[in-house]
Symmetry: C2
Subunit: 421 residues, 2 copies
């Protein structure tokens, strides 16, 4: 008996799944381990920057008032009373016609209100004392980086949810965040299904293939910023599969299976979901590949029944599972960045469903171009290795031509958008 | 005495540095640990894909010759003699008017040469035996995925140097690569310089700032795919700094310092390089920020003297150090992807040097737009947190306007280009 399923649109499927997006929790981790995580709290400035008036140059700190009369013909002389590097605090206050030799980044001494660069001063020594002359007038505050001119104590500098990259780390370090509140990585359980699966180190046998989907999904989970627990392959047997799946539900935040969602005689996932008391959110989506992608929930906990077909499995994860992970990671932009792009190849196939074609993008003169990653039979694994984007072709009775404008979802970039469309 | 240095162009500096690019070595690691590494050898198919004729559908495998006479009015009947799932090997050969019930991915039995989907057959049972009828003719090979039709044993599937992502892992798993030859991560030594530096967990003190550069650089090194060894801050004292730097040279592949390269009184890096017998490749580059970026080598080992200024340090690393790391990682595309983009903001500053402005990019209708990441004073750290690209403004007597076409270097994408221009 073949079950008839009514297909829903991709947008409808996304909406149904996202209703079960769950809030992530946060954890406090060492600054040194926070690369690639996401901020669970904004970075707030804990001091002014700079925290003192400082010099942008190597030069001499003086009182601008003393330079009012200075001209090429009548230069003004200053005695150099102190010599300080960055990190050394000036000890002497500057008075009339005195100067402090000062290095880039060093604190301006009391009394001084401007700095002139070495190159614009003439230095000389007399009787063991140091002097400079300046032949032009200076303004108050000239060449002085004022306290708080870059950042004011309490400013919000980086938003919650931001991916921690080298620039964010520089800000964290500047403000003394030795520990950082980051979004905890959700834990995604993974089962493969099917007795046809050999493990990666097993030799090929007649009728069998190696399990590539589960490892691909684990890698997609890691790329999305979550942790995975791989529980191996479920046998093609209902009761033991059900028991295994039920057992791990309390160890994971969400559960992914690959395979077993079609209407074949050994496709047990729908029955297992039923036995678990899960509510099915979708089991037929108007998309290729991956129309059989099945999503359900048990008491709000999401179960993703991805196709056993490698590219359908890949696409199903990116479209439906990844946004759930991003939400738990507090990333406000949960969806893949969608952009128009110019198709660099032919794609004459017609579709009755939306088609997500494995592609990669290039930038040419500032315009996005999209190229086919290879043969687009849904069972071809090798073109996945070139995939950095998915081209979405809406249902229609003609294909797309070279040079046509198409839509792509970018997978390998950090920047993403806030809404699905 | 102020030393006069003659500036060279950025292109010239890149060329001088890249002459000392070194070959990376490879190591064999577990498949399970290879995410984010780069292939040191191409992936070669170790079998045909599929390795047997298989079915793309749930259906019935039959002999096409038996359907020649089949029409709506005169359907042909087949007896179903076996029932196999994916991973189960067919045991019975198909003869005249026999069929095998077969699941998606399963091996086609001997004798059969086509498969018809469940939906297009009529099934019935009589006297405990199963039959189907088919009311149309089939072609030889119809709905059969032929052995080797996707991949032929020995095909090169993924090139050396490729970044290992989920798609590449799927290919590795398919062909049984339980261990993978990857490029060994080069080890980059890091020293900060300057007594003005406080560590991340120290409270602020007058005249001092926290060390953010070294940690930022460590994060940039990790993002580039290399390992770092952080040796702390060098004191502003020549001999001990020299000894420390000399000691670590045999522990690292290249060495990065932050700060100490200007012509200030406490800028010791040039003297240390001299004492080490290093040949200076550049010490003044016609760029802002980071004109003082100094690169030298001792017996071919590169020493990067980056500026102490946060954004100059950041830019210097991305322009000069990162390509060296990429080369060691066997990535043929060592440079940041350069693209034209439309400037979304004003940038009226004029330059006598090439300027690398901290920016971030967006895609709008398939066109790249570039936005200023914040104030572009080279001493402002917080805008680094928004930086995903560097806008390059060539030297000139006018700035650039909103809507102008400019060039950007993209930092946060995996795809890069092979040449600097």
């Amino acid at each position: 008996m073949v079950e008839i399923r009514t297909p829903i649109t991709v947008d409808e499927a996304v909406e149904r799944v996202m209703k079960y997006a769950f809030e992530g929790t946060k954890e406090l981790i060492s600054f040194h381990a926070c690369d690639g995580r996401r901020l669970a709290e904004p970075i707030v400035a804990t001091s002014n920057v700079p925290s003192f008036d400082k010099s942008p140059y190597d030069g001499f700190a003086i009182r601008s008032a003393d330079t009012i009369q200075a001209t090429k013909d009548t230069p003004v002389t200053f005695e150099v009373i102190e010599h300080i590097g960055a990190g050394t605090v000036p000890e002497k206050e500057i008075h009339l016609f005195q100067a402090t030799r000062i290095m880039t980044g060093a604190q301006i001494p009391e009394g001084a209100d401007c700095v002139e660069m070495f190159e614009k001063c003439v230095e000389y020594t007399r009787d063991g004392r140091s002097f400079i002359t300046i032949d032009h007038s200076m303004e108050q505050g000239q060449n002085v980086i004022q306290t708080g001119s870059e950042v004011t104590d309490g400013d919000v500098l980086v938003e919650k949810g931001t991916y921690i990259d080298p620039g964010v780390k520089a800000v964290l370090a500047t403000f003394g965040y030795a520990e950082v509140h980051v979004a905890k990585k959700p834990i995604v359980g993974v089962f493969a299904t099917g007795t046809e699966l050999l493990d990666i180190d097993e030799p090929l046998e007649p009728g069998k293939i190696r399990n590539s989907n589960a490892y691909m999904i684990c890698s997609q989970i890691e790329r999305a910023g979550a942790d995975y627990k791989y529980y191996g392959a479920l046998p093609d047997e209902l009761d033991s599969s059900y028991e295994k799946m039920k057992d791990v539900l309390n160890e994971v935040d969400l559960l992914v299976t690959t395979g077993g969602v079609s209407v074949g005689d050994f496709d047990l996932i729908p029955e297992i979901y039923e036995k678990l008391g899960a509510e099915v959110l979708c089991n037929k989506i108007a998309q290729r590949p991956g129309s059989v992608t099945t999503v359900a929930h048990v008491n709000g906990q999401l179960l993703f029944g991805l196709s056993g077909n490698p590219s359908a499995c890949y696409v199903g994860f990116e479209l439906y599972t990844r946004p759930i992970i991003q939400h738990a990671l507090m990333n406000p932009c949960v969806y893949a960045l969608r952009s128009k792009a110019i198709l660099a190849d032919e794609y004459p196939k017609t579709n009755s469903f939306s088609r997500f074609v494995r592609t990669y993008v290039t930038l040419e003169n500032g315009k996005l171009h999209v190229h086919l990653a290879g043969m687009d039979k849904s069972n071809v694994v090798s073109s996945l290795a070139r995939t950095t984007s998915l081209m979405e072709i809406p249902p229609g009775d003609k294909g797309v031509q070279k040079g046509d404008e198409v839509e792509v979802l970018l997978l390998h970039v950090i920047e993403r958008q806030e809404t699905f469309r």
